[in-house]
């Protein structure tokens, strides 16, 4: 069952994407770094194969590599976070 590590990694990826969207102006982020953060999530064994969480993370990774807007990637990652919440009894 997905746990805290998965939540933290997805939140980290979301924070990176939001930083790009908000233009904080204090760090230059590349799509490679965002993709790496999403891959870190996918590497977690606790995220089951075939689960919605993995599906949304895969879509977010595709969105980054396709050059989709940051808001689109963020939306997909929020969906992964939501699916993670649905797959366990408590956050």
């Amino acid at each position: 069952m997905p746990g805290r590590a998965a939540t933290e990694r997805i939140r980290k990826a979301i924070a990176l994407v939001n930083e790009v969207a908000d233009g904080a102006g204090d760090e230059e982020l590349t799509p490679t770094e965002i993709a790496e953060a999403i891959r870190d999530c996918l590497e977690l064994r606790e995220i089951e194969q075939g689960s919605n969480v993995r599906k949304y993370l895969g879509e977010a990774l595709d969105a980054v590599s396709d050059g989709m807007p940051a808001d689109f990637v963020a939306m997909t990652l929020y969906a992964a976070l939501g699916a993670l919440g649905e797959s366990r009894p408590e956050i």
Partner: protein, 214 residues
């Protein structure tokens, strides 16, 4: 717009003095620091133009704003949330204000739900927006209040840095909050800000400005 000058030994005291004169609460005002010294701080407190914000729907016809407002109203309806959506006038980027009762759930943990709603709104509005253009979604002026709070934190930290000469590391903040701090201190000749660490624990460091920085 109504405004008043406030004086006090600290920033908080000066703001409170102006608020008492205006008969307003903190959430409805914008604060500008006029002068700061070891013995007295002077601020100008301006009431945010609530009537203009509330009359957002009566603003000059703006196709994009109407589409955005209708879209967010629809989303809220699907979510089962009863709230009013208005377009804040005179803001760039365009800001949609959601107001109503018991909207805490719409803000979520550290503003996460609000942030997600903003992402969805921007994706759905995509074809109506120019490249790089974005829409900000705010609930009960949460975002505006957070920006105001972190600006106050920045000014307080800057005063302390000036007194002690030591740098201060602030708590981890979101990108828009860090941005507000950098903007608040960008014109200060003595104190500067930079960010350290990695998301989501990225923090702002407020410290003495080096000669090369200015």
């Amino acid at each position: 717009m109504k405004s008043a000058e406030g004086r006090g030994r600290t920033l908080d005291e000066a703001v409170d003095a102006a608020l008492i004169e205006l008969g307003e609460s903190r959430r409805n005002v914008d604060v500008r620091v006029i002068s700061e010294g070891p013995e007295e701080t002077v601020v100008e407190v301006t009431v945010i133009d609530q009537t203009a914000a509330e009359a957002g729907t009566a603003a000059p016809p703006n196709g994009k704003a109407d589409v955005a407002r209708t879209l967010v109203e629809g989303l809220l309806k699907h979510m089962g949330v009863r709230a009013q959506v208005t377009v804040r006038t005179g803001t760039d980027p365009m800001t949609l204000d959601i107001s109503g009762r018991d909207l805490g759930a719409l803000i979520g943990w550290r503003g996460e739900t609000l942030r997600a709603l903003q992402s969805v709104t921007n994706v759905m509005l995509g074809r109506h927006l120019a490249e790089g253009e974005r829409v900000i979604v705010d609930v009960e002026r949460y975002r505006q209040r957070r920006e105001h709070t972190v600006r106050e934190i920045a000014l307080r930290a800057a005063r302390q840095v000036k007194m002690t000469g030591d740098a201060i590391t602030l708590d981890a903040m979101q990108a828009f909050e860090r941005r507000a701090i950098h903007l608040a201190l960008q014109d200060d000749p003595d104190v500067g800000s930079s960010s350290i660490g990695e998301e989501p624990d990225r923090r702002v460091v407020v410290g003495p400005r080096k000669p090369a920085d200015s």
